[in-house]
Assembly symmetry: C2
Homo-oligomer: 566 residues x 2
Amino acid sequence: MTEATTEASTGEPVSFQTEPSRYRHWRLSTDGAVATLVMDVDEQGGLRPGYELKLNSYDLGVDIELYDAVQRLRFEHPEVAVVVLTSGKEKIFSAGANIRMLAAAPHAWKVNFCKFTNETRGAMEDASANSGQAWLAALNGTASGGGYELALACEHIMLVDDRSSTVSLPELPLLGVLPGTGGLTRVVDKRHVRRDRADYFATKSEGLGGPKAAGWRLVDEVVPRPGWDEAVAARAAELAGQSARSPAGAAGIRLDPLAKERGPDRISYPHVTAVLDREAGTAEITVTGPDGEPPADAAGILAEGAGFWTLAVTRALDDLILDLRTNELELGTWVLRTEGDARRVLGYDALVARAAADGDWLATEILLYLKRTLKRLDVTSRSLIALIEPGSCFAGSLLELALAADRSYMLDGTFEDDGDDRPAPEIVVGELNSGPLPMANGLSRLAARFLGDEAGLDAVTKQAGEPLGAAEAEELGLVTFAPDDIDWADEVRIATEERASFSPDALTGLEANFRFAGPETMETKIFGRLAAWQNWIFNRPNASGPDGALRAFGTGQRARFDRKRV
Amino acid sequence: MTEATTEASTGEPVSFQTEPSRYRHWRLSTDGAVATLVMDVDEQGGLRPGYELKLNSYDLGVDIELYDAVQRLRFEHPEVAVVVLTSGKEKIFSAGANIRMLAAAPHAWKVNFCKFTNETRGAMEDASANSGQAWLAALNGTASGGGYELALACEHIMLVDDRSSTVSLPELPLLGVLPGTGGLTRVVDKRHVRRDRADYFATKSEGLGGPKAAGWRLVDEVVPRPGWDEAVAARAAELAGQSARSPAGAAGIRLDPLAKERGPDRISYPHVTAVLDREAGTAEITVTGPDGEPPADAAGILAEGAGFWTLAVTRALDDLILDLRTNELELGTWVLRTEGDARRVLGYDALVARAAADGDWLATEILLYLKRTLKRLDVTSRSLIALIEPGSCFAGSLLELALAADRSYMLDGTFEDDGDDRPAPEIVVGELNSGPLPMANGLSRLAARFLGDEAGLDAVTKQAGEPLGAAEAEELGLVTFAPDDIDWADEVRIATEERASFSPDALTGLEANFRFAGPETMETKIFGRLAAWQNWIFNRPNASGPDGALRAFGTGQRARFDRKRV
């Protein structure tokens, strides 16, 4: 982690790859069905210079390690049914995001940091909800701000009752910003704290502890310090007993380090490549299909482990999204391509879907991970343009990339003048397009595309498994435009050049609204409404100006506010 | 309208009161069941100096007249079942919000302007959905930006097909902001335009017309110019035929000018008073109950007309909310009180509810107007604190004020030392609290309060009609705190002083999130997610900075963008 810095400095790009032996801030251990993840932040271990991570406060580097732990618990520990999240410090669980770091960070860094942190909290909830791996927050000291928000992402919250430990959301009274990682939403929408109590709680910087915290549903239970360890262990055992995870004798797979190469203008992994065109402001991303036929069954997936195509592609995409989002802010358009054999993609998809339906833990985890990675793409503030060209394999799982895009262009016919003798491209709707990979709003990307158009959705679903040419795909509404060889180059060039000429901020707002038509969930609220308000507040002088509350915190100066309500 | 100016100037406060004979920008006429509202903006009639309202572009003054027309159509014209909205200009329906006005306006003005505009669009949709008064957009020329968004709020959109008239959302490509009055949401969530087509449409500044606009569902039909008038008339007649409105022979009531007095520190109406305390940053709002018993039946409501207590209170509250929101930006906390007889309030409520259930048009309109006014309170960016004291009448319709508040304080007992011999306050849950006055998210304020707590909601509902003292109200969860005489003054003082010390921006974000827990609707999306993104964009240098797109528009200079995606 130490080599990583922020985009604001001239140092190396931030890396999201780590492993438990390199953790500086966490200790992960397992004992049968129960894992324990101890937060013990190294004060001197900040990702960049200029702040100390006191009181288990965190920065992006701390959260990168947490994300790694979340992933490894899913893939390397099928035996773990409960993750006990606790602190290695005395009297403090976590003070939340580091304020000095936030105050000094550029706006884009704040926003990116909150987004990644939110995604990791979401992955914890996904583990509790869909993977039989429940997270248990054992708050052995005060959890404030982001520390409490971390607990809110857990299935069950225990707070030590020692007359001093509390939970709190002091962001508004102390910093003039919102709890930035879902706290407001989860308090009322997940834990159903009454809205007027939530209002009081979120303005009371010292927070609440003891029986009142439990009575208001801020935590699930309070436990005196004597007997704390036993109570936590008993609750963990109880949750483990309720889990459907822990397949008898299952051994995990190892998430080997990614074979990633990162040059100044190119990032590559075995199945994913990105070419960075700084002049055009684009990243040209190509995902390649499987090199061969899928293994015969679930045992084959396990044997291939992290090398299994679907998992390898997902890991590479996940890392690439995070890398580009964090390190390449000026590449505003991502051009998405695929290369390979659609039939093989569908073969891998079918194997994973079948094995997951049969209850195979690894296939289930791979599908859930692919779901989370595609969701990460959905909330990425970059324009996404899919190009469907000869040689491509937009089928099933990879068709999701085109469905996630803001627009898609599919060549009608072949590139006749380029000496390219590959046949006209085809796309295939597969079984993974109709349910197993929902967006954050609960809809499949196909259903979101055909919102309010049941007939259109039915027509597409009926074509599942059939290779579709450009004219047919356009007619069915699966692609935006289907230019022929003569128009292709101009149309695509205009689309990307035009995108680069627009206000990056307005594009972010536009895309965030169009990508999430239809129903809303707690998750879409967090990435939509809550994040948008927070971004606005982050950008206001009352928070980030020279006299703003974020800058004034800890200086002894009082923040000065423009009192106008907007 | 001419005396009105913005809060940025030193002039008079903006007034929201007008009437058709004073309109400068609209012509309202009726012919049986069909009303025609012609937009014909006076270029020189801007609310403030510095811009010309060319091409039927609008500012707040234009929208105040539109809002007045919407209200009068509901109350003065029970015979009108269809409102044809069209333009009095050649070749142009409306160019949307005036750009020079927007570019020059302070941030708070932009946000307030968009909010009011959104509320008026919502009132048009409410008329189509709930009042049998369908709005028909007859676009006899190009409708761009806010002009098209105005059409999107209508039930049916007709566009003239003359090879030049289009609909468009050019905000992003031309101005670097979002369509600010629901356009993005309505395109995908109401009209179900496919998201990738919506993306293309909202980046194409010249828009789309002709059969393609209809094919993409951007409009409902296109009609050649020859025969346009006849086609519009035929469609209006058809919609009128489908309406359940038009009670035979019903005559409307007259919305007399409000008896409003506005001094520097006090605004008053017959049943509503606001004391403006600029030092404390509060507006102390008191609503008084009925002076006597309600009339016996629906005929009595009609006879009293605009003087009928429920309607008079609603009109006063509506105007007061708009006045304070627009003209008193630094009064960040509104303290809500009532005075009067709870039994009489419930008597008026019961009459209105019964008459509306029996199909009386006026009672129905009064309920719908009260609903819209309470919704306006919900989206107001001010802290709302309800104080329930001796002499108050928080019952039924007026209890909604306490339920809309961010917090409520109810005195437990009496003011013993103040020579105040009034009995301890009581509140009463009435029939209007359980459904007829839903929030924008579709929930009653009681249901939103007890989100996820069915038992709590049931317990409250069982007490309907019973006067509840402070201890009982607190136990049931109907009030936040119930201090006694000894603690009252300190607790209330601390709550309001503390509120005034917090960041106004963070409070806006906090309240917007806590007030709208639970489900989302198109309406909550527009006031929540879309508005928050737009506010963020408005506040960014890429839009509003010296080189931003809003400022650069029309100057011949190209906007210069910070290309970082956030």
